[in-house]
Symmetry: C2
């Protein structure tokens, strides 16, 4: 449990890059992973092109403990995520007998067409991510977790896969509203950050309810004592600003 | 004007990866670039670490016509975008006399502190992106365009920089609601896609107002005649489904 567990996220879909669809998955997954003590280190959004997907998978899976993907597992010609994952891992891909059997229960006659059967294509050796309410399953192969692009289905898949993942030492976090402009605290805040190397201190400007420039300060650390020490220093700085 | 102009987007900030802040810039920039005929090909979200930023900048700027960045140009210690861009280009960075002069008009005495002066650090040779309402300027160096992370400021910067960019042949787009489940049209849609290689055909499932699975089909092409031909084939398919 003392390990740091990291993740990359690969969002696959022309519709995000063209601006037609606004992504809702990055924010959800970022928050979800933070809550289960997995550090999201990088997100990439790329289009529906196999060579691009394979290259991104290879870059991310060699680097992070886990790689999550969203999108491209539906029944149409532009859904190429499963094939791309198989190619990245150099394994075969075929219709998964268990998934086909479930489709046969659900679809009859011409409804069980080639397009729907496409959703049963699973790389060899992958573990399915499925439930009674999920039609096209996701899967996990090696350290890559393939999920749907539709937010409600992706979220159901996260709940299924999360208990199977190892989690690291949770990143603890505390925040305080500075009631000051960011430019007024940059100097002392930098000194606090330098004096507390076991913490990550973030500064986030916003317009407050009086439309005045204000700043939220966030201290993060895996160690509670370090977090408390840095937060105490930040609080003292904020008090000094009031004076 | 017959060139294809591409772009990468680099979103910089721990707060996005931790889930604390939900990004609002990717969708805006994707749509904005589509409207000015620049193809967004890739987005990366990374944290506030200089080596990560430099590596991502180098990967994207060698590959795409333009690279846009958001975030990390404020007055605090975690704002390291300008320094990272200077390092990626191997140029110096210093307080920009013009920006410092503007700050001197705006801030007096102790308000013009080291933290605020940090926002005047601009890599050598960069062109400023600024206006009367923008405090910390963005800048363009080579093919890299550095913008604020705060959406309203980023959007103002896009409006300033957009007229200076070359734009390519606009990607035309038409869409139609199939009134069919995605799995029912995957087969014929694949044939249409194969028969119209000058187009990109996307299929996007959604739940319609009756909570029934439905599908939006989007045909995109740079050539109007190709777009029309493919869209005619898609419309004929949708008509056949009604019958």
């Amino acid at each position: 449990m003392s390990e740091i567990v990291t993740a990359g996220l690969l969002v696959i879909g022309d519709e995000i890059l063209s601006g037609r669809t606004k992504d809702k998955n990055i924010g959800f997954i970022a928050e979800y992973l933070a809550n289960i003590a997995i550090d999201l280190k990088e997100v990439r959004v790329i289009g529906d092109e196999e060579t691009e997907i394979v290259a991104a998978l290879d870059a991310l899976r060699s680097r992070y403990t886990y790689v999550f993907t969203t999108g491209g597992i539906g029944p149409t010609h532009d859904d190429i995520t499963a094939d791309s994952v198989a190619r990245a891992f150099g394994v075969g891909i075929d219709h998964h007998p268990g998934v086909v059997a479930r489709f046969r229960e659900r679809f009859t006659g011409q409804d069980l067409n080639e397009a729907r059967l496409r959703m049963a294509r699973i790389p060899d050796g992958a573990e399915l991510i499925q439930s009674a309410t999920i039609l096209a399953p996701g899967f996990m192969l090696g350290n890559v977790i393939v999920m749907a692009g539709v937010p409600s289905i992706m979220q159901a898949m996260m709940d299924i896969v999360a208990p199977k993942l190892k989690s690291g030492v949770k990143m603890l976090s505390e925040s305080i509203r500075a009631n000051a402009r960011e430019g007024d605290i940059g100097g002392p805040l930098r000194e606090i950050a330098l004096a507390h190397p076991e913490t990550i201190i973030g500064s986030y400007p916003f317009l407050d309810e009086n439309q005045k420039p204000n700043t939220n300060l966030v201290v993060r650390s895996r160690d509670q004592a370090s977090l408390t020490a840095a937060m105490d220093a930040v609080k003292a700085m904020v008090e000094r600003l009031k004076a």
